[in-house]
Amino acid sequence: MGHTAGTHDAHAVHEAPQSFIRKYIFSYDHKVIGIQYWFLALTAVFVGMALSLYMRLRLAWPSAHFPLLGSGPMTPETYLSLLTMHGTIMVFFVLTTAPQGGFGNYALPIQIGAADMAFPFLNMMSFWVTFVAFAVMVSAFFVTGGAPLGGWTAYPPLSALGAITGPGEGTGMTLWIISIALFCVGALLGALNFIATTIDLRTKGMSLMRMPLTVWAWFITAILGLLAFGVLLAGGILLLMDRLAGTSFFIPGGLVVSEQVMVSHSGGSPLLWQHLFWFFGHPEVYIAILPGMGAASQILSVFSRKPIFGYRAMVYAMLSIGILGFLVWGHHMFISGMSPYSAMAFSVMTLSIGVPSAIKTFNWIGTMWGGKIRFTAPMLYAIGFVSLFVSGGLSGIFLGQPSLDLYLHDTYFVVGHFHLVMGVAAIFGMFAGTTYWFPKMFGRMMHEGLGKLHFWITFPGVYAIFMPMHYLGIAGHMRRYADTTGVNYLAALQPVHVFITVAAIITISAQLLFVINIFWSMFKGPKATENPWEATTLEWTVPSPPPHDNFGGKMPVVYHGAYEYSVPGAAKDYVMQTSPEAVPHSGH
């Protein structure tokens, strides 16, 4: 039945390129592009982590001397540059790049049974634009004044007036904006590609409600990106004009910096930037975390040998998180001087996001409940993801209330919150994704022992780093402080900083294990079979790694949803999506 659809001859489109450059550098193949994105993110995450290590060192021992930073203790402006670049690189080039551009690019077309993305050339372009954006961003370190110091949110007027407000706010800041604008273009190209692919290139039988939750997550993420990045791009253009063309979109009149009157500007509004930025910035949080949610759902089901609990509820939860994500940007601005009435509206919307998030958590635990859990490395990371998501999400219940924000805003409580929920939870999603798809991507298994060792250091490690930050916030510690010497009551908190830094040194060192594991396994790992995890989705029906056009010209036909595990009466404890085998209560 229906096998005729599987006989299309797709070779005419997908002859594999022979030359090295076309095959590995300027490749159109979504798998190569996915791996390129993934390597870019891997590079970026190590740059970002190195920056955070330096920050932590200064916070713990403000007067110490550090290698690579010249003589003497680290200056506060260097600290702020590290902080700005750490945030920017992590948010844009890691959290946005790896989960979507990396895993999404690699796995989405295979999981829906397509030979490639809808627009392979655009796909290649979006990677290379992102790559150039990263190069421009890093180059900000090497110009006069160094990297910008205004934080990843780049609030004007600090970001708009030029070097007079601080070193790094000159050329460095200009490069920052250009890099972000390029990144927006790359992200938009990627997003439209993902959407067109998911809508139009699903194979026979792959109805929307049979798609793996990973595909739903990438699809919704792409929609968020499509709607959000254009707004950031607009903001970036306006900011660049304020800096270079002398306009006054964000710069009010009568500013005096170092006794110099900024005569050429008048009438602009710093809050306008905040609105544009956070209209992008809040959905961005979900752009970072949704793919992690998808991967965690997938992996929890596979290794619990049990169907996902409440598939439809999971889909609707992600959709409502996506929609609500656009209605809550004001909660970043409660104390900015925005209308107090709109603050109340934003807070109700914000707390509403807790509802779909709670559904997801409940369903993840429900998926494991009654299963037979296999503790592989990807499963450990996925369980870690759930734990971290709960911990980081719950502190959002505090910050979403304008009343409590009156004290907690811009304290370490916020830093702890978003690092847990959007930072390390998403990173654990990437660990999970890497270990899960690695056999498919490189045809070899990762070293389980090394993976587990890495998990056992990293999981408690990140808690030891970010949980104490909540206590700092409660004690009134402002964020973005280069050290605690300027304010008396912060002195008592210094031991907490030392503790966090020690935890960070250990945890960051442990990340080398992960890299060693990657490179060792890439060349020396045991060969992977087609379906090492005994999973049901389409990427596990093709060789590891898959051929250039994924399915060798034979398009698969799909008969079930993606979560048929432990089906009563079935031959094995899983039923492939492509298997015509009968399933008694096939949900979707």
């Binding site: 489109v13 290139l201 707004v231 509004s269």
Partner: protein, 217 residues
């Protein structure tokens, strides 16, 4: 959930199951092996998504415009040079000629098609040249980018629109070239359709922007 089960049957043939539809597949042939209509659908979806992204850019500019104009008393209404109306007329006409191109192509009237596409390119070029003249008029009146927020926005909006329109013009030129080399059979319908979609959108976007800067002064 169980009651919605589609049992064992493959469900409706929604997707195409292909992927990697390249430019050369712009005509639904090209031996791609995809089910008929896939390339067309993919390109249309892609274009619509691109238009959504572009819309968000201009939505953001619009909200900035509205907020900024209401902010302070330094906002001075910009007197539009009358030439903008002639430019608008040229652009509206170009949308009409684009439609005629499409119709002629479907009906297989090649000569007519070639003439209409040429007219569209000419009108598009006239619009771009006209917009540059509008800028020169403003400059000659001493109105620069940083003169007033209203002029900043005018340059920004016309510039951003102009850049997007230039992209469309390049696509049009390509279509016209193909047309005049008689390589534009009905097979290239998708290329023409997608280009037309973009061009009409640029037209509509311009009308919208013009109304914005004209009515919301």
């Amino acid at each position: 959930m169980a009651d919605t089960a589609a049992r064992n049957e493959p469900q409706l043939y929604i997707g195409g199951g292909g992927g990697g539809v390249r430019e050369r597949d712009f005509g639904d042939y090209g031996g791609s092996g995809l089910p008929p209509g896939t390339a067309r659908r993919v390109y249309r979806t892609g274009m619509w998504m691109a238009l959504v992204a572009i819309s968000m850019l201009f939505v953001a500019f619009t909200s900035a415009y509205v907020v900024r104009s209401g902010l302070s008393d330094d906002w001075q209404p910009l007197a539009l040079p009358p030439l903008v109306w002639w430019n608008t007329l040229a652009l509206l006409l170009s949308s009409f000629t684009m439609e005629q191109t499409r119709r002629a192509l479907t009906e297989g009237q090649r000569t007519a098609c070639n003439r209409w596409i040429l007219a569209t390119v000419v009108l598009g070029t006239v619009f771009v040249a006209g917009q540059l003249l509008v800028w020169r008029t403003l400059v000659s009146r001493g109105i620069y980018v940083a003169t007033n927020p209203s002029s900043s926005f005018f340059y920004l909006l016309t510039g951003a629109h102009g850049l997007h329109l230039l992209g469309g013009l390049i696509a049009l030129l390509y279509v016209a070239l193909e047309a005049w080399r008689y390589r534009l059979g009905p097979a290239k319908r998708t290329l023409v359709e997608v280009t037309a979609l973009y061009w009409h959108f640029m037209d509509g976007l311009w009308v919208y922007l013009l109304l914005l800067v004209w009515l919301w002064r």
